[in-house]
């Protein structure tokens, strides 16, 4: 649904995005992560046919971003970095205006506006002027605007920033629901917990380059190694750990617990458990340690910084 190949953007001499290649299938969510000024917004703008790439190509919902910009823009719903609402308008007028721009007929404009406003808990504010809206309400209304024409692709820049936890959950639930309905999402965010919850794929962009890309499990394995399992026992382990050393890499251990790294938990964990039980150890729990996107992200950025320093030194 979103495919880009070697997408590059120069602002005169400044390289903002360098050969970004992305592939987001229908019904999946890609979280594009990166520090401020990394090239996230420029990538989104190119994928929306707002900015023309200097080189490379991309297709959104089957449309070419260079040759079919109007079709691309009709197929995407965009939540921009700043919500950019017209503060003197009422919500109902605002949505009617964008509905007209997207060529929805009068009934459809009204029906979809009311349904979406209800879904995001904004019905009470339909007739308020947007200047009276709180930050979170504005963000939700901007999301309603992005979803108004029922686009197959949604590009959301910081979708839950400025929202209270309840509203943020409302938005995340909406994204999950729409994803089930085969909508495709590209989300840029600094909220790594949110990215971890929503995204099927993660791409990390830095200095315009996508430095890592893949599913959370893939990235975790690649960046921080095999998954780590944590095991707790009723009695002291004593020498029981030695019985599993040939199967796994024991990282740390205590009297009643140990942590080990394993390449294929599905295959190895049952064997580990059997051996421990056979040696008379009662296992209380065995669980994977959470794969933390923050840990992966910080590791990737740190590695890239180190690589940059090394390159600089060589020059």
């Amino acid at each position: 649904m979103i495919e880009s190949h070697e997408l590059t953007k120069y602002y005169e001499d400044f390289l903002a995005v360098d050969s970004a290649t992305l592939n987001v299938p229908a019904g999946s969510v890609l979280a594009l992560l990166g520090p401020n000024g990394a090239g996230k917004t420029t990538t989104v703008r190119m994928l929306t046919s707002i900015l023309a790439p200097t080189s490379g190509s991309a297709r959104i919902a089957g449309y070419d971003i260079i040759k079919q910009p109007a079709q691309v823009r009709a197929s995407v719903g965009v939540l921009t970095e700043q919500h950019g609402l017209y503060e003197r308008m009422r919500a109902v007028e605002y949505l009617d205006f964008f509905g007209r721009v997207y060529k929805l007929d009068a009934n459809e404009r009204k029906k979809r506006s009311l349904d979406l406003m209800e879904r995001f808990g904004l019905t009470f504010a339909l007739r308020k002027t947007l200047g009276e809206y709180s930050k979170g309400m504005k963000q939700k209304l901007a999301l309603v605007r992005a979803m108004l024409h029922n686009p197959p692709v949604l590009l959301l820049d910081e979708p839950t920033s400025a929202m209270d936890p309840q509203s943020a959950k409302l938005v995340r639930d909406a994204i999950i629901e729409l994803q089930r309905d085969k909508r495709t999402f590209l989300i840029t965010t600094h909220n790594l917990a949110e990215a971890q919850e929503l995204a099927d794929q993660i791409a990390i962009i830095r200095h315009g380059q996508i430095i890592e890309q893949g599913s959370l499990a893939d990235l975790s394995r690649r960046i921080v190694g095999d998954p780590i399992m944590e095991l707790h026992t009723r009695e002291k382990l004593n020498g029981a750990a030695a019985t599993i050393r040939e199967l796994v890499t024991v990282e740390e251990s205590g009297d009643h617990w140990l942590r080990y790294r394993v390449a294929d938990p599905n295959l190895t964990n049952p064997i580990v458990l059997r051996r421990l039980i056979d040696s008379g150890v009662e296992v209380v729990s065995l669980a994977p340690m959470s794969q933390n996107l923050e840990q992966i992200y910080l590791q990737v950025v740190e590695d890239d910084e180190a690589k940059g320093r090394k390159d600089e030194h060589l020059r």
């Binding site: 009709a74 007028e93 309905d181």
Partner: protein, 510 residues
């Protein structure tokens, strides 16, 4: 069109067909969606409503009272004509004041929206750049123009029904309405160009002086014309005002072209800072001066700069070269045709003492070009071409296209005079060809380069920004002037100072 309206469980909708090249009707329809929203928004802003109300309903009454009192006052001193001319002048002022608001609205509409970041959601919609541009231009023009026409109507009605009972010449009213409209168009289209170069309303307001100052001068000129014009009572209107209307209409078209070129998503979102990077700009220009290809590879030596770099720069200007060549030929032909018209013939005597003149050619050359004819001739030509280059910058290339070919209009005219009086064409050819073989192509190239430098902002290459296109054009212009035009003019001056007089003398038998 979406098949269902239920959110979240509607499935992927069938995509709306968005035409690649929408018809004019569709374009206008889409533009009007923008216009309606913006006009409604403007009318909710008391800062716009209050002056519009005052200028539409109160100021015209005040103007009418002033007109009546002033007319009576000057009439009491026997200067009735001043009073008579003041009444239409005030009509123009009543019409102009409200349209000055169009500049404020245009700056607010374009740069204000950019500043508030509300432009990007609009740019993310399927609307085309042209639709956005037309929509916003109309929205900046409609409220002030309605106020302006309303104010003029109030003024006219109050004059018609008041003690003066003034009946204006219909054509004068038409002229003032047209003037008001083109002035609004110039200000709004100029504001779009200004807005594209800024990211804050503050900066836009500062730059707007480039619109306000010329407009004020034009208004002063119009006022003087309305007071002094001998054809003020003519049923055809005031001739000079028609010229101003036409001139401003042309400026509007040029500004519309520039606006259309700069009002695109790339320009609007690509520019994020207003700071001037003089060093960076000079470095870029230097880079294009040295470049030998489109990728900007610098020349390794002077020979490569000439053989490759110059060719690349000339190729960039090939469209302008063709246009300028046509203008030169047409100017020559028009000059010749005018020279043949009976009313325009000088009637040269058929027995001019040419043989005698041939013996004094050196002193004639010295009379025109001073004691050092090479420098004199060189400087005369260089000054003209550099002047055309400079003026071209402020006139979108028009000055280069008019000023330089004017010389060839004169040559055509002189050729016609000689032909009509029975002189051999070899006389003129001998005076032109020896140095003209070098000078004429050089002048065509220089004019084309100057024309391109002014015109490139009205039509930047597809996919490029105006700033980039202009920087490349400036680099090319400097390169061609330094490497080709100035050395060429110097060689032509040497030939003109020493060879041409000898050839002319030989032809005339001196």
């Amino acid at each position: 069109m979406n098949t269902s309206v239920r959110p979240f469980d509607a499935g992927i909708p069938t995509q709306t067909t968005t035409p690649e090249n929408p018809s004019w009707r569709t374009t206008l329809g889409n533009a009007l969606i923008i216009t309606r929203r913006e006009v409604r928004d403007s009318f909710r802003d008391w800062r716009i409503i209050a002056p519009i109300f005052v200028l539409t309903f109160l100021f015209p009454f005040l103007a009418q009272v002033v007109a009546s009192s002033f007319s009576g006052f000057v009439a009491s001193y026997g200067a009735q004509i001043i009073g008579d001319r003041t009444i239409p002048f005030l009509l123009m002022i009543v019409g102009f004041f409200p349209i000055s608001i169009s500049l404020v609205i245009a700056l607010e509409t374009f740069v204000g929206e950019k500043e508030r970041r509300s432009l990007e959601p609009l740019l993310s919609t399927p609307l085309t750049n042209t639709e956005l541009y037309i929509g916003k231009t109309l929205s900046a023009m409609i409220p002030p123009l309605v106020s302006s026409y309303g104010g003029m109507a109030v003024y006219l009605v109050s004059l018609l029904t008041g003690e003066l009972q003034w009946r204006p010449p219909a054509m004068l009213v038409v002229q003032i309405i047209l003037l008001t409209t083109v002035q609004a168009l110039v200000m709004v289209t100029g504001a779009v160009v200004v807005s594209s170069q800024t990211t804050s309303t503050r900066a836009a307001n500062l730059l707007a002086s480039f619109i306000i100052i010329p407009m004020t001068i034009i208004i002063q000129g119009e006022s003087a014309i309305m007071f002094l014009a001998p054809d003020a009572e003519s049923p055809n209107g005031i001739g000079a005002l028609w010229a101003i209307i036409m001139g401003m209409f042309i400026v509007t078209i040029l500004l519309l072209r520039v606006g259309n070129a700069v009002f695109n998503r790339e320009e609007l979102l690509g520019r994020t800072i207003d700071s001037l990077n003089l060093k960076g700009s000079l470095r870029k220009i230097g880079h294009y001066i040295r470049a030998v290809d489109d990728q900007g590879t610098p020349a390794r030596n002077v020979i490569e700069w000439y053989t490759r770099g110059m060719v690349v720069s000339l190729r960039h200007a090939r469209r302008e070269l063709r246009i300028v060549f046509v203008f030169f030929v047409v100017s020559l032909v028009i000059g010749y045709i005018i020279g043949n018209l009976p009313g325009w013939q000088l009637g040269l005597p058929s027995d001019l003492p040419l043989r005698e003149a041939a013996t004094n050619l050196d002193s004639s050359v010295a009379l025109f070009f001073g004691t050092d004819p090479i420098i004199g001739i060189f400087w005369t030509n260089a000054r003209l071409l550099l002047g055309a280059l400079l003026l071209s910058l402020f006139t979108f290339g028009v000055a280069a296209l008019i000023l330089t070919p004017l010389t060839y209009l004169i040559i055509g005219y002189i050729a016609a005079q000689l032909a009509v009086s029975g002189y051999s064409p070899t006389i003129l050819l001998s005076a032109l060809l020896p140095h003209g073989i070098i000078e004429i192509p050089i002048i065509i190239v220089a004019t084309a380069v100057a024309f391109r430098l002014g015109a490139v902002i009205t039509r930047p290459p597809k996919g490029g920004t105006v700033g980039h296109a202009w920087t490349v054009a400036l680099g090319d212009a400097i390169k061609i002037f330094l490497g080709l035009v100035l050395p060429g003019l110097l060689i032509a001056a040497v030939v003109e100072a020493f060879v041409t007089p000898a050839v002319v003398a030989a032809v005339l038998g001196g």
